[in-house]
Symmetry: C2
Subunit: 191 residues, 2 copies
């Protein structure tokens, strides 16, 4: 639970008693490589904190292509917040890329935490703001940058994630073909 | 202030006293058509609630194209949350498309509200979650849908906004040329 504690206390300070109340409803689940936490169309019944491992969070478009929303490693929160919040079928699938561990909390337990610990409101208010910022940056970059710029940004921002991914996975995040990513890499290495 | 009150009480219930405390720091500002609330590169020092009018929130890419993140009408919140939260130069410009009114709150006043009214944590936690959901839907759609599908989605989701926009503005939101949008519209009308 140390990683979760660090993640939480980076955002709000909790007494020992508050931390015990906070951690109580989280359940540790393990996932083998290639196993799914969530499949598109299911209702997302948990929010998860990655304790170990790596996941890809992606959407399959109408033409069958896989579009990666993000990759999550240790210290990231995962889930389909749209499905979790509104209890509607998920648009996202979440698959383990390595043997992984996730600390999961249910919607009911999370709602209860808000009532028991007012600081949890602040915690998830701050975390949601950070997610808005991250998504806003993603939308702006995606709208206005070339694939080469997106690639350079991604390897600069998340070097610790990129080294755990195949180039096909990185290409699926950038929304380009594997072949096009190879061309970009060759072009960069010549510079 | 009625529209703001409705927006707030849709998310949390406030007593009369709490509402008075909440509304107190908001300042009504008026903007003439084409006037800017924020320009890219400035620090965003407010979060705003649109009381009247219409705004476009956009980013200018390295090639000089304008990419519209969203249009906001009455009842929407506007600002560059990345710049506002982190006090870094804005990536977004916000311009009035009509004579408009905005209720603005500063970062300092908003932080103070969290301390005075714990329910404000809940309010902005819920609102931030909704923004995450909206942005997640935007990213997924943008990654996986054709321009025609995006256009049909937009007019179905925001009919009250579309009718106030020129077709050039809608095209800038969809990330396509005005000519291409005309082709899509012709194709749809033939169906």
């Amino acid at each position: 639970m140390e990683l979760l504690k660090k993640n939480v206390t980076n955002n709000v300070s909790l007494s020992d008693d508050e931390w015990q109340k906070f951690r109580q409803p989280f359940e540790l689940k393990t996932f083998k490589k290639k196993e799914f936490l969530l499949r598109e169309g299911e209702i997302c019944r948990f929010e998860g904190f990655v304790n170990k491992g790596c996941f890809r969070v992606y959407h399959i478009g109408s033409k069958g292509f896989e579009h990666v929303l993000y990759f999550a490693i240790e210290g990231w929160w995962i889930g389909d917040i749209d499905s979790f919040t509104n209890q509607i079928p998920a648009q996202l699938s979440i698959q383990a890329l390595e043997d992984s561990e996730v600390l999961c909390i249910s919607k009911k337990d999370k709602e209860d935490l808000y009532d028991v610990l007012p600081k949890v409101e602040r915690l998830f208010r701050i975390m949601s703001q950070k997610r808005v910022v991250a998504l806003q940056r993603r939308v702006i970059s995606k709208m206005s940058k070339s694939a080469e710029e997106l690639y350079l940004d991604y390897i600069a921002t998340y070097p610790q994630i990129v080294q755990r991914l195949t180039s096909r996975q990185v290409a699926a995040y950038l929304g380009i073909s594997h072949e096009f990513l190879s061309k970009i890499r060759k072009k960069i290495s010549k510079k």
